[in-house]
Amino acid sequence: MSDRAKNTFLMESRELLDNMETALLNLESDPEDKDIINDMFRSAHTIKGTAGIFGFDDVEAYTHVLENLMEALRARQVKVTPDLIALLLSAKDYLGLLVEEAVLETTIDDDHRQQGEYVLGELTSYLEDTDFASAEPPKPAETKQETKIETTEMVEWKLELHFKEEVFRNGLDPRSFFHYLAKLGEIKKIEIETSRMPRLEMADPEVCYLSFLVILKSKSATRAEIERVFEFVKEDCEIVMVPPVTHIWDYVKGIEKLPAEIYELSDALLSNGNLSLEEMMELIEDKKVEKTHTIPEAKIATQKIKEEKENNPTKIRKAVGLNQLKVDADKLDVLINLVGELVIAGATTNLMAQNSGDSKLLESISSMSRLVEEIRDSALRLRMVQIGETFSRFQRVVRDLSRELNKDIELTLSGGETELDKTMIEKIGDPLMHLVRNAIDHGIEQEDERIKIGKSSKGSLKLNAFHDSGSIVIQVIDDGKGLDRDKIFQRAVKRGLLDPNQEWTDSEIYRMIFEPGFSTAEKITNLSGRGVGMDVVKKNIESLRGTVDIDTNKGTGTIINIRLPLTLAIIDGFLVEVGESTYVIPLDMVVECIELSELEFGATVHNNYINLRGKVLPFLKLGDLFGSPPKEGARENIVVVQTGGQAAGLVVDNLLGEFQTVIKPLGKVFENLKGVSGSTILGSGEVAVILDVPGLVHKAVHEHGAVSVGRGDHSAGLSSTLH
């Protein structure tokens, strides 16, 4: 079976298992909700059905028990208890491993396997006293082994088929059955019997009036095989099969072998004419005689099911996924790439139109540009995914961790409908996980401690997301003990990260926790406190062109703000010129532009900072930084950029204005280059470098700090330190 389908199965199962987990957690707070149980049942059901088709027997068998338990829950024969939920959660986890084992051919280690088997055993014991204690899942119907009567000669079966009137309306075509029948042998003759056919003008074309007589010549076809050909039509067609003469003697022999009573019974029925020989044989062959005993019980059972259904009419299912379409992410990537190329091609056309000066051309170009912009926005929106699903994964994490650490913590989620580019959703999970673990482990205090300082015994953790001027902010908020400014400061000084003689702002000090290997935790737990992680968090977020900052109050809690751009593919850029080269600054980071010459005469310019309306603004001369000599006669400008609560100025030669920037990643060679984050292609076909604003701001602030404590002017050496 194809790998593509297997991978889809893996992806789909993961999604379904996630749904199951969410449902289980919801069920804990709302054990009576039938919709939740139905949802879980359906997830298990789908996994089981599909796993069976792939032949993943382990997955199928395990899911079967899970499915049975869900059915027992639905029938209220098993009660929802916290223990059962915990058990089902573990079962769900193990099922995830089984799916991975089946698809990716990984091996599950013994510990997990034992745990999984244990859980299975427990679940089975829950089922013991219910109606759902069946042991084995149904296997794909195997072809029944039949005693074939081997004849060397061709024998002839005579089949009479009286199709009922509604056969066409039921989507059944007699011809296709005959075609299939030909697989069993040679169809010697088909006679059409038209006695039921009315006069043509009276006939209803939707009605079947025909009967057929078919002679099938075959070496080995059995009655059951022929019946299987017509299995779909057996309710809509009276079939009389007359077996070849040679067979009749086999049946007669068969009847003789039957137990005495049945033999007598059949004898009696035959002799008084109640049954023809053929019908008798049919009965015996299908063992219908024996089956009659079980029919009354079966009837009672069906009746019971019917009554149950009438008493509990299934609720109308919520319209989930209405008008939604699942699209392969690769297809979207191709679309976004093409749109990117379109934007570039549009810019080129625009440039050429402007050079030509043709006003009509310019007009049509401008309306085209507007459309391209709209296409760009809609295409990018296609990749947007709600962050809610990522958030809800943390329900489980918080639940498990708080149990482990013996803390009572409530997780509140808000802003789950906020949309974010799919790639970012994928990459933000790990950093978020780290922040959440940190908050639970170090942030929120033990219950007794909380009560002592007058906080509510239950800790609170919030995950929040919202849009803020062209970017997305994700917040991790806890009401724990906050960061200890003094402790961090001392530790930073000890490690030589901060100069104790200098004034440092709170945010500068808090930022120290993002330094590699920085930890103030006295004891290391297996969750966090090893001093690895926060720097990785920062690095991950910065690789998404985002920033992270901390807002904390000792004793009352911490808010971590992660700010991410809306998309990674196309941004609004601000084009500037330095020397002969063009650079792009992401527009959402630009605050204002100031002409430098005015400031120069105002004598407010110092070595590398200026006085901007009473505030110190450090700046970098991009010309020096990138080693390009200034243009003759250019009037220098400062572009004020802001990121992560810090502002800095970038000195450029010329401002060229807004530009739709299609981000092209830099090659591996440039991976470690600081100060640049990507590249783009301009309308003229030239390459422009996209500036890494957070990196540059950090640089500028750092230089400013160095200057203010009198360590001399570093600006001249910048280009070498940056490269």
Partner: protein, 122 residues
């Protein structure tokens, strides 16, 4: 001209497996994730056979089939329904609507091909 088969199931991997088997046998496969989506595929183009799951989010298979049976273009289209043994009352409802071909999950792709070739001519 290869025959068009519409497959309706909420499991994308099931659709892919069935689709691989059917395409391999020379059929042209159209996929839909639930009844609502499947209805949008009934746009007047000839569909020779419909394979539909019973239990789906959005619109379930039985509701979908009841729409198909009211559509003059498609009411004679052969239908195979996919189900599990635990859904007897659904099977009953489906049979009342005139669905005669049922395939119990899990099935092997060959069983699907077999069922299809009983219902439509190649």
């Amino acid at each position: 001209m290869s025959k068009n088969i519409l497959i309706v199931d909420d499991s994308m991997s099931l659709r892919q497996v069935v689709s691989i088997a059917l395409t391999g046998a020379g059929y042209n496969v159209i996929e839909a994730g639930d009844g609502n989506e499947a209805l949008t595929k009934l746009n007047g183009d000839k569909i020779h056979l419909i394979v539909s799951d019973v239990n789906m989010p959005g619109m379930d298979g039985i509701t979908f089939v009841s729409h198909v049976k009211q559509d003059a273009n498609y009411k004679f289209t052969p239908i195979i329904m996919l189900t599990t043994e635990s859904q007897q009352e659904m099977i009953q409802k489906g049979k009342e609507l005139g669905v005669k071909a049922w395939l119990v999950k899990p099935f092997k792709p060959e069983q699907m091909l077999d069922a299809v070739s009983k219902l439509i001519l190649p």
